[in-house]
Amino acid sequence: MNERALRVVLPILVLVLLVACWHAVVRIFAIPPFVLPGPGLVLATLIADGPLLWQSLLVTLTLTFEGFLLAAVGGIALAVIFNQWRVAEYSFYPYAVILQVTPIVAIAPLLLIYLPQPMAVLACAWIVAFFPVLANTTLGLSSVDHNLLALFELCKASRWQTLWNLKLPAALPQILAGLRIAGGLSLIGAVVAEIAAGSAGAGSGLAYRIAESGYRLNIPRMFAALLLLSLAGVAIFFALSTISHLALRRWHESAVSRER
């Protein structure tokens, strides 16, 4: 079997094995569903509660996507501003770092006091996703080949020309890497905010469903919702990886397959 096929078959094999073990443990020890539901029950719940969970997933994903988009645009824009005006970088970069290192779980309850819940979820998604975009774009913009910069200087290129024709394209691999991290993080941010809001009980996002099901000891639904959340995270990761690959495939080492 070739390597490509192995990369598909082996993870599937592991999955089947794990699910089988899970099923066996639940059966053999007769664990009640409110402690640990078996895989079959989780799947049944996923189908039965499908419409409700799907609605909630859409709510969470919409806010995640909006937070991600704001983080992407804001992070790239701020990095460009930092790159063009050192003063701005020196003034604001430390606060961007502080925003990043303060755990989002600790910020979320505060945001929920001041903002309506969807806004707070959006804000959390934005805060966690913002920094990787900013940091990676900043790195990319500042690590441009010095000789190419000299060439642009010799050609008497304007600041704008240098930014548009040299710095941004040169930073594209780093920007895309930042976005790939940000995608997963914005989902985490949104979920954290929804869980924190859980006790307030006003939301309808998927994480809120998990919190709610927990209070009601509806463990199968918790698992079903969790499964949906992971699938959503995987989908986000693959979507961004694909975009990154398509954008870089013609020229960047990371996307070009090595000849043997």
Partner: protein, 252 residues
Amino acid sequence: MSPPGQPIVSLRNVGKTFESGTVALNDLNLDVHGGEFVSLLGPSGCGKSTVLRIISGLSPATAGSVTWPAGEARLGFVFQEPTLMPWADVAANVRLPIKLAHKEDTGAVANALGRVGLSAFAQSYPRELSGGMKMRVSIARALVTEPQLMLMDEPFAALDEITRFKLNNDLLAVWQAVRRTVIFVTHSVFESVYLSQRIIVLTPRPGRVFTEIKIPAPYPRDETFRTSADYGALCRQVAQALAGAMTAGVPS
């Protein structure tokens, strides 16, 4: 041998001291005339590249003056590395200087690519090319604005000898066809003798002109010249001058 009339660029008592206190150049005088092929030869660290950076305006001289008696020349710069944009294809890389000057490409890109023999590779990306081909693209990019003065900073240093010989011949062919002025920085005695009309030997740390050697051999030069006794004798002469420059530069 050097053509009469006023030089295209003239360096007088040029010095360069870096912020770190390193004296790269000291009291350097150099006149380059239109259409000349001049090499700057010296050991690494003698400030050869700094001379090019000062002439191009990338780095200001800290002493002396650079003057352009016939008005500032249009420059083409070829770096030590190919210095191509990996995200752009060959044609786009060559077109860059025209684009940055807000001009339209009226066949200059195709023309420049033709001169370096890369017409068939306009749509290729730099990563698909060999080291020698990348350097050709870099030269085409420098030619595309029809510069009056080409500054070349050890462009072939990283290439293997066979490729270098080939590019030496091609560079001479281009130079003879368009008759640009070339200032060529190298640390290779053989390369400088093969290419130049005039070799300026620099002393190391601080760089200044040690001596100047004329290479009277006629163009076109080819493998016959490279294997001739004349060439061997000239190389020996230049190598001796370089050895002299090395001892002259060592502080006693």
